[in-house]
Each structure stands twice: as C-alpha cells, then as structure tokens.
C-alpha cells in the first residue's frame, strides 16, 4: 500500500514547493490550496476500504530490529485523517484571508510549517506502531514550534519555551519510557485490537504505566500539564484554529484513545483498580478548566481553556472503559474539531475586522458581523451539547456509556460541565446580538495588539467568512448525517455496541 506513503509525502512535497514559490504570494497560496485539496482527495478514497474491514498497511523502513517505521490505517486513524485533511482545506482558505488581512510577516515560513505539521499529523493518524507514532508526535511538536513563535518577539519566545518545554519533557521523560517499558514486557509495539498487555502486567504497575502514557502524551493537555495550550495562543489564529483546536490536540487525545484501546485493551484496564485514577483526574480537568475559562476575558484564552476541558471529555469517555463510551470519545474528537475550529475562526475574524481580542469588547458586534457571530453561536451550542449540533451526539454517547456502567462520577461531571459551558459561551452570544454597542473610547484598556478597536468595520474578508460558514455548517451536518464517523467509531470497538 504505497498510497499511504504518498499521502504523507504530499504535504511534505507541498512544503518544498511552497518554500520554492515564496516570492510570489499568489502562486504560493495556490500551491497551498492545491496541496490541501490533493491530500484530502487521497485520504478520502481509503474510507470505504477501511469501513469494509480492510486495514491497509505499509512498512517503510526496518529502523531497528522489531521496531519498523510502519503505517497502518484503522478506523480511528481514518477518522482523524479525514478530519485533519478536510479542515486543512478550509483552514487554508481562512489563512489566506487572515494572513493578508493582518499583513503578517514571514508568511512563507508560516505556510511551510503549516504544511509540515499536517504531514506529521497524518503520520500520527496512520502510524502502524507506537514507535512510528512517537516519531511523528515529536516531529509535530518541532514543526509547530516556529508557528507558535511566529511573531518572534520576547512574549512569543517565552510562550515557545513553555510549549516546547512541556511537550518535549513529557514525551521524552515519560512517554518514551512508557513505550520502552511496553516493548520490554511485550516485545511488540503494534496496535492490536484488544490490546497487547493482557497477562503481561498486572496490579499497581498497570496504573503506573498508564500514568507514564497519560502524562507522557502532553498534547492531550490533561491538568496539570495543560499550560502549553494557553501559551500557544500567541500564535496567529489559523494556527490556534487548525493546530491547537484540531491537529495537535486531537493528536494527543487520539493517541490516548489508541493506547487505551489498542495497547492496554479496555478489558485489562476495566479489571484493574489501579487504573481508575484516570477517570477522576480527567473529570477534575473538565471541571477546573471550565471554571478557569469562565474567568478569562481574552477570547482566545477562554477558547483555549474550553479546549482543555473538551479534550478531557474525550479522555474521560475513554476512561469509562465501556465500548459505547469509547464510541462517544471517538465521536467527540470529530464533533469538537468542527465546533472549536468554528469558534477560533470567529475569534480570528473579529480580530481581523475589528481588532478586538477581549470578550468584554464584543457588545453588539453581532449586528456588524452577523455571519461570524452566527457561526460562533453554532460552535457554542455544539460545545454545550445542544441539538442540532454535533456536540449533542457525542455527549449522548458519553452519557449513555457512563449511565450503563453506573459511573455516576462521570455522569455528574458531564452534567455540571454542560452548565459551565453554557455559562461561559452564552453570555458572549447574548452580548453580541442583544446588548447595544458601547460608545467608542470605552473599549481600550487592555486591548493589546493593534491598539484601539474601531466601530467602522463590517464583516471580515470573504475567505474568512466562507471558511467559518463551512465549518459551522459541518457542525450541524454532523448532527443530521452522523453515519460516517459513527460507523468508524463503532468499528473501533469492533461492531455496534
């Protein structure tokens, strides 16, 4: 299955072409769009095969004896690759509007790193064993570092330090050790349905190994190793949108779900009391992150904390350890991706058109930017889990999983956090549409960046509006047509739960 390699090479070659055509922005951006399109068009045709039960695989290099660089497509990876490659197209359209609208510098480097990041994300999605996954995981960290520090000033250098510091130290200090431990007791790093550890490890050691994995996967941003995510918000908004709401963070929870399902195996964890801590830690992260989000006035920071909380939903759902809740976890990866990218797109749209960054400045903005704020509303509803949005669907599965296994703690967390989500999203929507605009002069204060907001604006540039409408529509469409992600998610746990 050489196609698999071609899929990952496409954005890599795209990155080279983008670098080569950097002198002429129009050509460069055409190349970006074409690369994104070509990538998606190669990923999509794999879907029917995977749904039919095929698991296309390819061994690229036998790096070390028993530890090859290998690719394999399974349902969850298929879903992740579909989401990432589809949203890359939308985000590319958006980036063009955003980067030009804000006259950002070093745009070529931006597009090159973006392309690389997508290549490595696809590598994570299609990784055939833990070694390959780890390789692309680290590559993703490094390729997004220049994006996070894009501005190149003191603040972004410090943010970059936090970003790299947390992600590298957790992955090298914990995840790598966990992987090697796994290899030393099982002699294998492959992803096998049902796990590879049954009978190889037991008792408190399971809990410890789970700890190495869960805190080694820093990209899943479970508290207290979540700080890199708010720090990464200094990046330009398209980066926050695609990478820090979709690709990078989803790579984290994707890895979490994969490790739980294919390495440990649900049954092993469910029967081991030392593995139960994960449920409580992820539940606590959901609640605490929501509480912190409530207090953030900076819109992107509020969204970042909301992401931390939503990521822990996925971990929580996986940690309930029933097939149906794992389906919920997988669905939530898709649902949250569409919802959160919409919200970030909206935040960037507001920044581009009105140069506003704070929640308190958004009174009445819905009348000037109706499309943006309508999309924002849909995204918010999906975060809260209100029908008809994708968020409702995944929350439904998570709740029924929690109920069926009588995990009352998880049920409580889900309900409480729904209220909290409503508490930090709905006021924004309310203020945007129903409050009158504040007169000019009231809204300076801590409005950093491009100085004062002005009221002489309308909607953001067209590419931005198109992009955020597409993702908002996607959020609704997933509710009405959940067939594809649902089937993939059910395949993950081996049939209809």
């Amino acid at each position: 299955m050489i196609d698999l390699l071609r899929i990952i090479l496409t954005p890599l070659i795209g990155a080279i072409l983008i670098a080569a055509t950097g002198r002429s922005p129009n050509v460069r951006e055409t190349v970006t769009l074409l690369t994104a399109l070509a990538t998606f068009l190669q990923v999509a045709p794999l879907t029917p095969e995977v749904l039919a039960g095929a698991r296309p695989a390819l061994e690229i290099l036998p790096v070390m004896p028993g530890v090859p660089l290998a690719l394999q497509v399974e349902p969850l990876g298929m879903m992740f690759a579909l989401i990432a490659s589809f949203l890359w197209i939308v985000a590319s359209v958006y980036s063009i509007g955003y980067m030009r609208g804000n006259k950002e510098h070093h745009q070529t480097r931006f597009y090159v790193c973006f392309s690389l990041a997508i290549a490595f994300t696809l590598g994570i999605a299609f990784a055939g064993n833990l070694f390959t996954l780890f390789l692309f995981y680290e590559a993703l960290t490094l390729s997004t570092y220049p994006l996070v520090t894009h501005k190149g000033d003191e603040a972004s250098m410090k943010a970059g330090r936090v970003y790299l510091g947390i992600l590298l130290s957790t992955s090298i200090g914990l995840l790598l050790i966990g992987i090697l431990w796994t290899y030393s007791i099982t002699g294998s790093l492959d992803f096998v349905p049902g796990g590879i550890m049954a009978g190889k490890i037991e008792g408190p050691m399971v809990g410890l190994l789970l700890f190495l994995y869960m805190y080694g996967i820093g990209k899943a941003a479970m508290m207290p190793i979540h700080r890199w995510l708010p720090a990464a918000m200094v990046a330009p908004t398209p980066v926050s949108a695609l990478l820090h709401a979709v690709a990078v963070v989803k790579a984290g929870v994707f890895t979490v779900v994969k490790v739980i399902v294919y390495v440990f195996g649900i049954d092993l964890l469910a029967n081991t009391s030392s593995a139960q801590w994960l449920l409580y830690v992820s539940g606590a992260t959901v609640i605490i992150a929501s509480l912190v989000a409530l207090q953030q006035d900076n819109l992107k920071r509020r969204l970042a904390y909301s992401t931390i909380s939503q990521l822990s939903y996925v971990i929580l759902a996986a940690a309930i350890l029933t097939p149906i809740s794992v389906v919920g976890a997988a669905l939530h990866i898709a649902a949250h991706a569409f919802g959160k990218i919409t919200l970030f797109f909206a935040a960037g749209s507001i920044y581009t058109a009105a140069h506003k960054t704070n929640v308190s400045q958004l009174d009445g903005i819905g009348r000037r930017m109706p499309w943006t704020m309508a999309a924002f509303t849909i995204g918010s509803l999906s975060m809260i889990g209100v029908p008809p949005t994708a968020g409702f669907l995944s929350k439904w599965y998570m709740l029924s999983g929690a109920m069926s296994s009588e995990a009352w703690f998880a049920v409580g967390v889900l309900i409480l956090s729904t209220l909290l989500n409503a508490g930090y999203f709905l006021p924004i929507v309310y203020a945007a549409f129903l409050k009158p605009e504040k007169p000019l002069g009231d809204d300076h204060g801590d409005n950093h960046g491009h100085g004062h907001g002005s009221h002489g604006h309308g909607e953001a540039p067209l590419p931005i509006v198109i992009a955020l409408c597409v993702t908002a529509l996607g959020t609704v469409a997933l509710f009405f047509l959940p067939g594809l992600p649902l089937e993939l998610a059910q395949d993950l746990v081996g049939g209809t739960p």
Binding site: M64, F131, L135, A139, I172, G173, L176, I177, L180, W181
Partner: protein, 498 residues
C-alpha cells in the same frame, strides 16, 4: 600482495606521510597531501571492514614474528567499525580544515599542524588496530603528544595553559596505563591481549592482578574523561582550534572508550569471573554510579556555560556517561547501546563543533550571546547545529534516538527501571542547553552595529552538511550502526554474560 599488508599500511601510511607535510612547507600543498592521506586511510579502513565482513577477523603479524612474541595487529568487526569511524571523521574534518585553519593558525605553522594531525590519526588508528597491550601504549602516546601540540596551537595564552593541563593529566593517565600493563606482564609474562585473556584467570586471585586492574581503570578513565577525571577536557576543547576540537571530540574519547571495552570486557573480564573480589559494591556498580553522575553533572554544568565550545565540551562529559553506563550493564543490549552511542555521538559532536567552527570563522567568537541573529545570517550553519542538537537530545528519526532507545532497553532488561527514568530526565537537560543557543540565534536580533556576516565558505559547508545529514541517515537506517554494534557486542561477550 598489497591487500594482505592493509592492517600495517593503515597505521604506517599516515605515520610515514606526516613528516612530508613539513617538507612541503607551504600551506596548500601540505593540506592537499594530508587530505590525500586521510582519504587513503578511509579507503583502507573501508576495505578492511569489507574484508572482515566477508572473511572474518584478520590477524597480522608484524615482521612475521608470531604472537605472542611479536606484535599482532588484529582486525575484527568492532575494530574495523572504529577504524572507519575514526578515518571517516578524520577525512571529513580535513576537508573542512583548509579554510578554518587558515583563519585560526598562523600560516607558517600550517604544515606543522597537518603533520600533527596525521600523527594523531596514526595514534588513534594504531590504538584501535593493535592486539598488543604495550604497543597500544606507544600509539596512545603518539596520539596524545600530537594532541597536546595541536591544542596548544589555539589562539591566546589560555590554549597553552589548557594544553599544559592536558599534558600533565594525560601523562598521568598514560603512566597509570603502562603501570597496569607492566603488572600484568609481571604475572603472566605476555603482552598480547588474546594471550593475556587466556592466562589471567589462573592468576586472578592475586593482589597484583587487582592492582593492575585498578591502574588500568584509572588510566583509561582519565583518557576517556570519565567523571570525575574529566577536568582536562573542557578547557582543552574550548581553547583548541575549531578543527582540533571537532576531530578530538568525535574520535579521541571514542577510541579511549573502545580501548576500555577491549581491555576490560575482552582481556580482564574472564579473570574477573574467576576472581573473588571483596566489598559491598562490585566494580561494575562503581562504574554505573560514576556514569550516572557524569550524565547529570556534565549536563548541568553545560547549561551554565556562556561559551558554546565549553558548553559542548561539558555535554561530551555527560555523553561519555551514557556510553559508559551502557557498557557497565555488561549485557549485549547495554554494550551495543554504548557502542552505538559512541558512533552516533561522534557524528553529533562533529556536527555541532563543525557548525560552531563556521560561526567562529565568521563572527570571531563562540560566546552564545554573540550568536544573536545568526539564524537569519548563517541559515545553513545554524540549521546543521539544530539538527545536531536534536540528535543530541534524542528526537526520534535521528541517530541520538537510536542510542537512547538501546540504552533504555538495556536498562529495562537489567531491571534498572530507575536508570531508565534517569536517562529520560538527563536528556531533558540537553534540551535546555541546546535551546539556549537556538533562542539566541533565532529570536534575538543582531546588534545594530554588527558587521555584515556571510554564510560560511562552501568548502566548510559541504562537510558540515554531509555530517549533519548523517544524523538523520543513521536515525532511520541502523544496519551499519546498530547492526554492527550488536554483532560486535555479542562477539565480545562471547559465550554468555556473568
């Protein structure tokens, strides 16, 4: 047949060729001659490797005197592997040397420098290839004496002081070594390594043997710069000319490690198994602890260095700790981890020191703070530095990752889970000091009054790029690094581990 004489020629050629550099006198012909000789050495090393791969170990009897009476040159897989590594780095650095030496050493001394370089190469190759414990001492001295001279050629008085320090400590190390060999000769009457390994178990329970082992251990650890005998290394690396630092960092300590493995794992280990040593800690535990302390103390000190060369020198002390840790496990996985890290680290440090050499050529300083803005002004050099740095940290896809993987595997096999955690932790320290340079080079703008800086000349960039790409190559293709290391480790430990 000339091919049969290869083992002798491997050493004899650079030895005989060295004086011709002095006769040639002018810089360019001397460099050309040295370049040709190092390339020939590399060619011979490669053909020896191929010969060993196809025909098994080679034993060459110097002057046709049969061992154990005559001097034996022995080439097995590990020997050939180290020969290729040393002569490969030697040739690469020589290609790079022309521009760098022109900038750092007065032109009337160029010919002398190249002669010293070839002598040093002779010594290192000789230490690797010889099968005779005393002959090894001779080559050790050849390489050491030429090294002192080369370090002393560095700019400023500090270089002389560093060379003098190195001279004193290096001589102590060599003396300890020869004392150890003398004691062994006293109780066995032989100097041939293979013969020693056979005869020693019979006399293992004597004080003389234990004393000899002690002298050898201290002497070789000094040459290897194993913590706490590493004090000579940072000043020597920091003040030597860039070319010398790059060459020494990636060959001299590696050959010392190789000799340590030869002497201890091959020659002394059978006797240790026969001996009953007292004490709560076995000698293996002591070495393990020293290695761990080296890993952490080296990296910690590296973080606080303002001078990039000194920082990398302390990093070397830490990395030597990794290698020795692997060796001290005395299992196939552990020993192969040590050997493969010896190989990968040679490449890593060559990359980093060559990159720093380019920086020195252009801005005349290796202080980290002076590197502001270099990310933009010398993009290729700094990219190579970053690549070397990533490999040093052990990012997957680079050579450094392969070594770390093996090392942690070895630790788990031994049940040393704490060592596994410590290895993980100490690599994080490498992130800190590598990133210190990265942040200055890429985020700090160059000072306003800074003179314009060009990228390094092509004759330096090509070797730099080659060695930098080796980091990636050996991260994904490990047959020639890990494969050889595993085979060598398995044959060294022979019939099984104690």
């Amino acid at each position: 047949m000339i091919a049969d004489q290869l083992p002798a020629l491997q050493v004899a050629l650079p030895l005989i060729a060295a004086p011709f550099c002095v006769f040639l006198r002018r810089p360019l012909p001397a460099w050309g001659w040295a370049m040709a000789v190092t390339m020939a050495c590399l060619g011979m090393a490669i053909s020896l490797l191929l010969a060993v791969l196809h025909g098994g170990p080679i034993s060459y009897h110097v002057g046709d005197w049969d061992p154990p009476w005559g001097i034996e040159l022995r080439v097995d897989m590990l020997t050939a592997f180290v020969l290729v590594l040393v002569s490969g780095i030697g040739a690469l650095v020589m290609a790079y040397a022309r521009e760098s030496v022109r900038a750092e050493i007065p032109s009337e001394r160029h010919a002398l420098f190249y002669a010293m370089y070839l002598l040093c190469l002779t010594g290192l190759l000789g230490m690797t290839i010889t099968g005779d414990a005393f002959n090894l001492f001779v080559f050790l001295e050849i390489s050491s004496l030429s090294t002192y001279a080369m370090v002393g050629l560095g700019k400023g008085r500090q270089a002389l002081l560093a060379a003098y320090n190195y001279l004193i400590l290096g001589t102590v190390g060599a003396t300890f070594y020869v004392l150890g060999v003398g004691l062994l000769y006293m109780i066995t009457g032989t100097l041939n390594m293979a013969d020693l390994a056979e005869r020693l178990p019979a006399v293992a329970n004597t004080r003389t043997f234990v004393a000899a082992a002690g002298f050898l251990a201290v002497g070789l650890s000094l040459k290897l710069a194993l913590f706490p005998l590493h004090k000579w290394l940072p000043p020597a690396y920091a003040h030597a000319p860039s070319v010398v630092t790059a060459f020494l960092a990636s060959t001299a300590t590696k050959v010392s490690l190789y000799v340590l493995i030869r002497i201890f794992v091959e020659v002394l280990a059978p006797a240790f198994r026969a001996a009953h040593l007292p004490g709560p800690l076995s000698e293996g535990d002591v070495v393990t602890i020293l290695a761990l302390v080296a890993m952490f103390s080296g990296s910690f000190v590296a973080i606080f260095q303002a001078d990039a060369k000194r920082m990398l020198a302390y990093s070397s002390v830490a990395q030597i700790g990794y290698m020795v840790l692997g060796v001290s496990m005395l299992t196939v996985t552990g020993l192969s981890a040590g050997l493969v890290h010896m190989f990968n680290h040679a490449i890593i440090k060559a990359t980093l020191f060559l990159a720093v050499g380019c920086v020195f050529l252009r801005i005349g300083s290796v202080q980290v703070k002076d590197m502001a803005g270099l990310g933009k002004r010398m993009p290729l050099t700094m990219a190579a530095f970053v690549l070397g740095g990533l490999s040093l940290i052990g990012i997957p896809g680079t050579g450094g990752f392969v070594s770390k993987w093996q090392l942690v595997m070895g630790a788990f096999e031994k049940g040393w889970w704490w060592a596994a955690l410590l290895i993980g932790l100490s690599s994080l320290l490498a992130v800190v000091y590598v990133w210190k340079v990265v942040e200055v080079a890429y985020f700090k703008p160059a000072p306003k009054d800074a003179p314009p800086v060009k990228e390094a000349p092509i004759s330096m960039l090509v070797p730099l790029a080659l060695i930098a790409l080796c980091n990636l190559f050996f991260g994904l293709q490990t047959d020639w690094s890990l494969g050889v290391a595993r085979a060598a480790a398995a044959s060294l430990l022979g019939g099984g581990t104690p």
